[in-house]
């Protein structure tokens, strides 16, 4: 089953604008991660947030986690054309340290 469903499915913005992507999940988590995928390539890890954390920053990325709502958001500030990619959230499945379960992703297009 899919856990970590992203919203929206696609997002198109202009360079310099902020992009916000959301992720919902159904069961408890150990941590939640965000990955980026450029077209036709593998995924690259961006940021991890643990279940006892509420917010985390990395450069232009800001991730929040609301465990009461079972949701997370990824904010990219001052977007660039090079940020154009698909973004996935991934949930560390409860009871196992091995598996990550991915959502279907948000396709972000940043127009120059």
């Amino acid at each position: 089953s899919q856990q970590g469903e992203e919203d929206p499915q696609a997002l198109s913005i202009q360079e310099g604008e902020n992009a916000t992507m959301n992720c919902s999940y159904k069961t408890s988590i150990n941590n939640l991660q965000w990955y980026r995928q450029n077209s036709g390539r593998g995924l690259v890890h961006l940021i991890l947030i643990r279940s006892n954390e509420r917010e985390k920053h990395s450069g232009r990325l800001r991730v929040t986690l609301d465990t009461s709502k079972k949701s997370s958001s990824l904010l990219i500030t001052a977007s660039r054309a090079a940020d154009t990619a698909s973004y996935f959230c991934a949930k560390n499945s409860g009871g196992s340290n091995y598996k990550l379960t991915f959502g279907k992703g948000t396709l972000l297009t940043v127009n120059p």
């Binding site: 690259v44 890890h45 091995y98």
Partner: protein, 112 residues
């Protein structure tokens, strides 16, 4: 630079052929994974391995098998390829614990 290397970026095979997808990592990671990625379905876990000769089924193991004879190498085997196995296959590895995945570039398989 640490790497997960997938031996073939593009493969074209015929229905009924046996297909081997090879993945090698140089990070001494215990865990290795095979995902397939299809439009609209996101990433789905096929198999994973947490040690040499150890394997566990993921969410969609039917039609696939795996082999992990050495720590650095994890092979995905399609015993008799079918057209519905046309997909992008992604290999990943991780250390135990937080389970941040490092992905290969992907292998795009077309079964005719």
């Amino acid at each position: 630079d640490v790497k997960v290397t997938q031996s073939s970026r593009y493969l074209v095979k015929r229905t009924g052929e046996k297909v081997f997808l090879e993945c090698v990592q140089d990070m001494d990671h215990e865990n290795m994974f095979w995902y397939r990625q299809d439009p609209g379905l996101g990433l789905r876990l096929i198999y994973f391995s947490y040690d040499v000769k150890m394997k566990e089924k993921g969410d969609i193991p039917e039609g696939y098998s795996v082999s992990r004879e050495k720590k650095e190498r994890f092979s995905l085997i399609l015993e008799s390829a079918s057209t519905n196995q046309t997909s992008m296959y992604l290999c990943a590895s991780s250390l135990p614990g937080a389970n941040v995945l490092t992905f290969g570039a992907g292998s795009r398989l077309t079964v005719l």
